[in-house]
């Protein structure tokens, strides 16, 4: 194979490292998006036998947002294999123990149950906050857009924007707030 063809193939099958900010995101909704990048389904060269999946680095997995009262009600099942080894753990308990586990289970669940799943899951790196090892962060070259809107806290909006924003009414200067 000539050098040009070899190098072209190297580029086409190169594995990109994506980063995804899980802050305020629903893990199950984001898992559907992440699994596409892990399996390589966002690439036109995709084929299940092709091993074309990318690496996804998830940060801020501690700030995940489960819907409704799932924190209280969603239970994760685990069996150790030994008799009497079944256990049901609630989502908040799991999250306190290991903040990366919920999103990991969500991504695992979103994939098809075939033999490639365990291998594909190895490509997912999850960090509970913004602290990512330097060498991992250097590899990252693309960011996956979030699905849900992250609302800005009212006291985090800069002052001049607040002043500029059109007001319908304003309290008079000598108004006394209760």
């Amino acid at each position: 194979m000539s050098a040009a063809k070899r190098v072209q193939q190297w580029a086409t099958f190169a594995r990109t490292w994506h980063i995804f900010d899980c802050k305020w995101q629903d893990p199950y909704q984001s898992a559907d998006l992440i699994k596409k990048y892990l399996m390589g389904m966002h690439k036109p060269i995709y084929h299940p036998m092709n091993d074309c999946g990318d690496v996804v680095v998830c940060i801020n997995s501690r700030d995940i947002a489960l819907r409704g009262d799932e924190w209280k009600k969603r239970a994760y099942f685990h069996h150790t294999g030994y008799p009497g080894g079944a256990s049901w753990t609630l989502a908040w308990e799991v999250h306190n123990k290991d903040p990366t586990m919920i999103i990991k289970k969500a991504v695992y669940r979103s994939m098809k149950g075939n033999l490639q799943r365990r291998h594909t899951m190895e490509r997912l790196l999850i960090y509970p906050d913004e602290e990512v090892p330097e060498d991992v962060l250097q590899n990252v070259t693309n960011q996956i857009r979030q699905l849900r809107l992250v609302p800005t806290r009212l006291d985090h909006i800069p002052e001049d924007e607040v002043r500029k924003f059109p007001k319908v009414m304003d309290y008079p200067k000598d108004y006394v707030y209760k």
Partner: protein
């Protein structure tokens, strides 16, 4: 009987059962014994025995030569054609036989025709490639020409034109070198029978078309593309700048870098690579391909030029 016929729909279909089988494509039962028997017979003979076609009962050399000429749509002189197919080893063998029988029949071999043909092919292919790939420098054209005249290509062409049955040689099956030489001799014979133009078209239609689908850059290996490129650009006086325009997973084994070459702030080419140095070299190669007009998206080579094209020096003189 009538009772049964009337109530035939009522009787439940107890007898009908669908067997649970999976259809698959297996090796048939007769295959292994047949192959074993064939192998036994082959070993008895002492290896595969292939008889040359001209030992068959149905063989007419004259008819074969005539058909050969007609197949190629060319009119050969029949003596020259026979001479072109006669190999030196066959002539030696015939002479030894004739010594025993004391008959003297002179058979000419194809060496002189082959030399003539080879010389003509070299010159014509050079001129043709110069015309068709006019931006490519002389070194590149020479490399492509050497590939086209190589024994491998010529023997392949010769084989697929059906010469292996007609060639008169001492051994069978015929060697690649003899096939290549026969082809050159055919070109020589055509040159003498019909003239330069017909021989030129023959070479064009069978030898030069072997470039179809091939990447022309594969034949010319440039050792240091970057220095070559910088030399060429420095003559024009433009500014050449390589820049890293993309990288993927740089701390891993599967790192991929993309380097772009900018000529006077405008992008000329880009190259991928496992390291930055390789990517820069590939970008330089792409740039050279663009300058020589032989990139992947180039116009397909024109295989329809008629006559013998003029050489570059001649056309330059005529232009000035």
């Amino acid at each position: 009987m009538a009772f049964v016929r009337r109530f035939i729909t009522v009787i439940p279909k107890l007898a009908k059962h669908v067997p649970i089988t999976v259809q698959s494509r297996n090796i048939k039962r007769w295959v292994a014994p047949t192959l074993m028997e064939l192998k036994r017979r082959e070993d008895k003979q002492g290896g595969k025995v292939t008889n040359p076609r001209n030992t068959f009962l149905e063989w007419n050399l004259e008819a074969e030569l005539y058909a050969f000429g007609k197949r190629l749509n060319e009119e050969f002189d029949s003596d020259l054609l026979l001479q072109a197919f006669t190999d030196r080893s066959y002539v030696i063998k015939e002479e030894m036989k004739q010594k025993e029988l004391e008959i003297d029949l002179k058979m000419k071999d194809n060496r002189e025709l082959a030399e003539e043909g080879r010389k003509f092919m070299q010159e014509y292919i050079q001129l043709y490639l110069e015309t068709v790939l006019h931006k490519l420098p002389a070194e590149g054209i020479m490399c492509i020409r050497n590939h086209l005249i190589s024994e491998k290509v010529l023997s392949n062409v010769s084989f697929h034109l059906g010469t292996k049955d007609i060639i008169l040689a001492a051994e069978y099956p015929v060697d690649n070198s003899i096939l290549a030489q026969t082809f050159e001799a055919l070109v020589g014979a055509l040159l003498q029978s019909c003239g330069e133009e017909r021989a030129a078209h023959f070479v064009r239609d069978f030898v030069i078309t072997q470039l179809q689908g091939q990447d022309v850059n594969e034949f010319w290996e440039i050792e240091d593309p970057w220095t070559m490129l910088t030399e060429m650009i420095s003559k024009t006086g433009s500014e050449l700048e390589p820049r890293l325009i993309g990288e993927v997973a740089k701390n891993t084994l599967l790192a991929c870098y993309r380097v772009g070459l900018y000529l006077d702030k405008k992008m000329m080419s880009s190259g991928f690579g496992e390291t930055v140095a390789i990517a820069k070299e590939m970008a330089a190669r792409e740039a050279l391909k663009k300058i020589f007009g032989t990139e992947e998206t180039m116009h397909p080579i024109n295989f329809k030029l008629n006559g013998i094209p003029k050489s570059r020096s001649q056309s330059k003189i005529s232009a000035s």
